[in-house]
Symmetry: C2
Subunit: 213 residues, 2 copies
């Protein structure tokens, strides 16, 4: 059984600070999510550095033609990434190109998001986005941890696939409610790295999840 259900979002722009945080909380998290701003600040090698310490999920929100997403995915794979996050609204061929080039990396498909604007185009397409993602053979989905109705719906559709849920903590989602409503893993950023005592915050979140799963 997986011990930890917590993924830290490293929305920081300094690899030393990110590594320091992982050294502090690494034993009590499942992994870390890395986004473009950190990669832009520190270079792609940040994935390799962090991958030596924890499982790194590359939150690259891929949304390009098949050849380009293939090239980006291969570069994340070369760095030892554990997982990669791709959009699905660019269609079946782009999604399949990511899955084919991901190798051992797990591919997580965005089928709903946590910001207001996602209700305009993405949420109305959610069921079709889930369909093409399952057809492409993804490992799991990104689903909002601050929208329990959407989360429950995706849980019903996802079967045994994994659901990662951002939007927990500063964006309003509650850790145990997100898990109860279908998330396998919750992604928490600011509440942890802006905490005066990240270890304590991680312990509190983990304690709040005891008995939930």
């Amino acid at each position: 059984m997986v011990k930890n259900r917590l993924i830290v979002a490293l929305d920081l722009y300094d690899v030393e600070r990110a590594l320091g945080l992982i050294h502090e909380i690494g034993d009590n998290i499942y992994g870390a999510k890395v986004n473009w701003p950190l990669i832009m600040s520190e270079g792609i090698g940040v994935i390799r550095k962090l991958s030596k310490e924890t499982k790194v999920i590359c939150d690259l929100k891929l949304a390009d033609i098949p050849n380009t997403v293939r090239l980006i995915t291969e570069k994340a794979r070369e760095q030892g990434g554990f997982g990669i996050i791709t959009h699905s609204f660019t269609g079946s061929d782009s999604l399949s190109a990511v899955v084919r080039s991901a190798g051992p990396m797990k591919v997580f498909s965005v089928v709903a998001m946590s910001h207001a604007g996602s209700s305009e185009f993405i949420t109305p397409s959610m069921d079709s986005l889930i369909d093409i993602s399952m057809d492409a053979g993804v490992s799991g989905f990104i689903a909002p941890g601050n929208n329990y109705e959407v989360l429950r719906h995706i849980r019903k559709r996802a079967g045994k696939l994994t659901i990662l849920s951002p939007g927990v903590g500063a964006q309003g989602g509650d850790p145990s409610l997100a898990i109860r409503n279908g998330a396998d893993f919750i992604i928490v950023g600011r509440s942890i790295y802006n905490s005066e005592n990240p270890s304590n915050t991680v312990r509190q979140i983990n304690n709040s999840l005891k008995g939930v799963f």
Copy 2:
């Protein structure tokens, strides 16, 4: 009047090769488009290096929550990018966040794409994507240079906004037909950088556009 209507897509992974190409053809192009694979290989500083030689359009296909696209846009702006390419599918708030943080950079919104999978979700939403992009105050649109029907439609809707069209050359679009059907600028990659004589290829393309605009 703008002298050149040609933007080279630097889908290369080596900054020296990219700079060499710009030194060779820089006087006969409008600018260069840079995508994530080159940034992943060479670091974000590649935007600054190339910006000293030509206008750089950062093809980052932004597709994230407002706070994240703001951070990415600011980093492109710090490097002296001339323009930035964002998706619109993630909704009005993300799009507005890009426009607000772009400063002097021109923002080009993807409202149609050149690959088959874009017909699944993006093309059916095209008119609404154009609407929210115009409301957000973008400088222009990305429209496929290999799909003249879609290109003409976007031209009609775009008014005086600028249209950049990829998909020309290796992906099947014809330079002069793309311009005749509504593109202000055509984006050509492989046909130029894989050419034995890039200067000649650029000259041929520019000659084929004489009298078209």
